[in-house]
């Protein structure tokens, strides 16, 4: 355990020295502050920030994680020659990456929001932002372990981001219109809830734009996701999304022939 912490500390210092993380944090900080300062309507600011959280954060997480993995591949190999368990090396790499990315998100987006006034929405932002960072970090490490070539790994990671933020919604929309004559509310709701980006969006929007989401589907949605059980349900979907790639990646890492 002591070893673990020492490696985590070392990798985090390495990440901070890298300057990319600082740039990322500063970028988020400036973007959020500008959005808050220049929109006179706080609801609108939150909507713009939702887009930042849902699109920008996964994208940067994905690229940063895979780049970092490939860049520190030699260092990892060096570590593995030492009498340290593979598991500890993997956990150290994952947790240091996710801790630093989550910290960047919290400082960059949540801090200015809290200075602007606290509301329950910020809690939802924290949940979805943190979980999205973890999920995409885990996925990206899994992909990086699976592909030895850097270009391939980064490409597949970015495709994954594209899939969850754009293509998946397109498929859902297509399914909806192709089977329009069948009662699909619950199926579409289920499909949407399977996508971590969509479920985070719906979680925030349910708190934000309740009026437009009403209507039959909205009422249905409100019943299922709008209360505490709904929050727990969606949180567990997000946790499953983070755990699955993490476990698979851990297994792959244990068996991988470097």
């Amino acid at each position: 355990m002591n070893n673990n912490l020492r490696i985590i500390k070392f990798i985090i210092i390495d990440i901070i020295k890298n300057k990319w993380l600082t740039t990322y944090t500063l970028f988020l900080l400036i973007l959020t502050s500008v959005i808050i300062l220049f929109s006179n309507d706080s609801n609108k600011a939150i909507i713009s920030l939702t887009n930042v959280v849902l699109i920008l954060i996964p994208l940067i997480t994905v690229t940063f994680t895979s780049m970092h993995y490939y860049n520190s591949k030699e260092f990892i190999q060096m570590l593995l020659t030492q009498p340290i368990e593979r598991k500890s090396v993997f956990i150290a790499e994952f947790s240091s990456l996710s801790i630093s990315l989550t910290m960047a998100f919290l400082i960059g987006v949540i801090l200015p929001l809290i200075f602007n006034g606290f509301s329950i929405l910020i809690l939802y932002m924290i949940i979805s932002g943190t979980m999205l960072s973890l999920i995409f970090c885990a996925f990206s490490i899994l992909i990086s372990i699976s592909f030895d070539e850097k270009i391939k790994g980064v490409g597949v990671s970015i495709f994954l981001w594209l899939f969850f933020s754009v293509i998946y919604d397109g498929i859902v929309l297509y399914i909806y219109f192709a089977f329009n004559s069948y009662p699909l509310e619950n199926i579409v709701l289920f499909l949407t809830a399977l996508n971590p980006v969509d479920i985070s969006r719906i979680l925030i929007l349910l708190k934000l734009e309740i009026s437009s989401l009403m209507g039959y589907t909205g009422a249905n949605l409100q019943n299922i996701l709008g209360n505490k059980t709904g929050l727990l349900l969606s949180l567990s979907v997000l946790v499953i999304w983070a755990l699955t790639p993490f476990i698979i990646a851990l297994k792959k890492f244990n068996k991988k022939n470097f």
Binding site: D41, N43, K44, I47, T50, N51, L54, I55, S165, V166, D169, G170, V172, L173, Y176, F177, N180, L184, E185, V188, L189, T192, V197, D198, R201, I202, L205, E209, I210, S211, S212, L213, M214, G215, Y216, T217, G218, A219, L221
Partner: protein, 422 residues
């Protein structure tokens, strides 16, 4: 001699006493001349004033067929004990003031009302309280009457077991001013009522509509507040309605509207505030109607206007923070949009005349999709949908091409302080 003279004059005395006084006060109360209201009314003549002391009067079926005034002191309560109607007015020139009427039964064969006004003129109901009634004030076939400053609260739980707060049927020139109505089926209901004015009422938390118009021409309603009603305000099958300076607020729900217009023509909707409704205005079969100087703020849909609306004019309105500004189900557009302020407008104004140089399209592809299939709302504000909307804005193929505001304003048109009511 003296006694016989007295006997001779006595009837004359009595006659003069009774008829010469313009108005006589008849007191009703536990230690007054009359113990109950019915006998007081029986012994009154036109022009009398019946004053009711504080107390609870357990009575029902009071019929007023004389031109009298009935007024209560501080807390005169008529409790109909869920048996029948409290007061029925069958005479003109009647005033009822300051009494509380409660516990009118729910009826399936008869519309029991707290105060029913039948075939009368110039009746005034003012400063009364109505608690837990089926119908509170029911005017049928009556003219030139006033319903002013009443507080009407019901505890309706389902639409079929509840009546309306103020109900007008076949009436002419009725004033409904400054009433508070909540917990009924419809707050105010007008059917075949013409030339009536509805001002300054506060209608909230009614099961169905805050205000419901059917077949009622030439009415106007102004400065009312409709908040948190089951389905908002409905104006149906009516011509020439004036709707000005009202506030439509917090009407949320699957089939809830700030204002529902169905088969309306030649009406004017001016200076209203629509805030936090699922749909600000839902318009179906509306023609020759002007929607001007309104503020639409934080609604799901600001205006849903169906394809069968023609020749409507939508100008000088402010659209702020709505999820959808205008949505329609048609490829064509027969309505005129001009000089509105749209908070989503991102055009420019090179000549600085405060009018945007690029036309604005207030509908989006996604809003059209959602009208066709409401479940698609799940994808609201997703990246994909924003991409779709962007491409559609540049090259419209699904949204009606002529639905444009050619002179979008760069600044808000209406600066109206939002009034806060407790």
């Amino acid at each position: 001699m003296k006694i016989s003279r007295l006997i001779f004059f006595l009837p004359i005395f009595i006659f003069f006493n009774f008829s010469n006084l313009v108005s006589r006060d008849i007191l009703v109360g536990s230690n007054r001349e009359y113990k109950d209201i019915k006998s007081a009314i029986e012994n009154s003549v036109n022009g009398d004033r019946i004053i009711i002391d504080d107390g609870i009067y357990q009575t029902n079926g009071i019929i007023i067929d004389k031109e009298i005034t009935v007024s209560g002191l501080n807390s005169a309560i008529i409790d109909a004990q869920n048996i029948s109607e409290a007061i029925t007015i069958k005479s003109s020139n009647v005033t009822i003031q300051g009494i509380t009427i409660k516990n009118i039964p729910v009826g399936f064969m008869k519309d029991y009302a707290g105060i029913r006004i039948e075939n009368s003129k110039k009746v005034t109901i003012k400063q009364c309280r109505f608690v837990n009634n089926f119908f509170a004030v029911y005017l049928s076939n009556s003219d030139s009457s006033n319903v002013i400053s009443n507080v009407i609260t019901g505890n309706a739980s389902s639409e079929s077991f509840s009546g309306n707060g103020i109900h007008l049927w076949k009436c002419n020139t009725i004033n409904i001013d400054n009433n508070y109505i909540s917990g009924h089926r419809d707050g105010i209901y007008l059917e075949f009522a013409i030339n009536s004015v509805i001002t300054g009422n506060y209608s909230e938390k009614n099961l169905r509509y805050g205000l419901h118009f059917m077949f009622s021409e030439g009415n106007s309603y102004r400065k009312n507040i409709f908040r948190g009603n089951g389905a908002g305000v409905a104006v149906m099958y009516t011509k020439r309605v004036e709707m000005t300076e009202n506030i439509f607020e917090d009407n949320w729900g699957p089939s809830s509207y700030g204002l529902l217009l169905k088969d309306i023509s030649k009406s004017r909707i001016y200076n209203n505030m629509f805030r936090k409704n699922t749909t600000g205005i839902y318009s179906e079969g509306t023609t020759y109607t002007i929607i001007e100087n309104n503020i639409f703020s934080s609604n799901g849909w600001a205006i849903k206007i169906l394809g069968n609306c023609n020749y409507d004019t939508i100008i000088n309105n402010d659209f702020l923070s709505n999820t959808f500004d205008i949505s329609t189900n048609s490829h064509l557009n027969d309505n005129y949009y001009d000089s509105n302020f749209w908070d989503r407008y991102n055009g420019y104004d090179l000549d600085r005349n405060l009018i945007g140089d690029v036309p604005y399209r207030p509908t989006s592809l996604f809003s059209t999709l959602v009208v066709k299939s409401p479940e698609a709302i799940l994808l609201v504000r997703s990246f994909l949908v924003e991409l779709f909307d962007l491409t559609e804005k540049i090259m419209p193929s699904v949204i009606p091409e002529s639905l444009t505001d050619n002179h979008p304003s760069m600044v808000m048109k209406n600066k109206k302080d939002y009034i806060q009511y407790d």
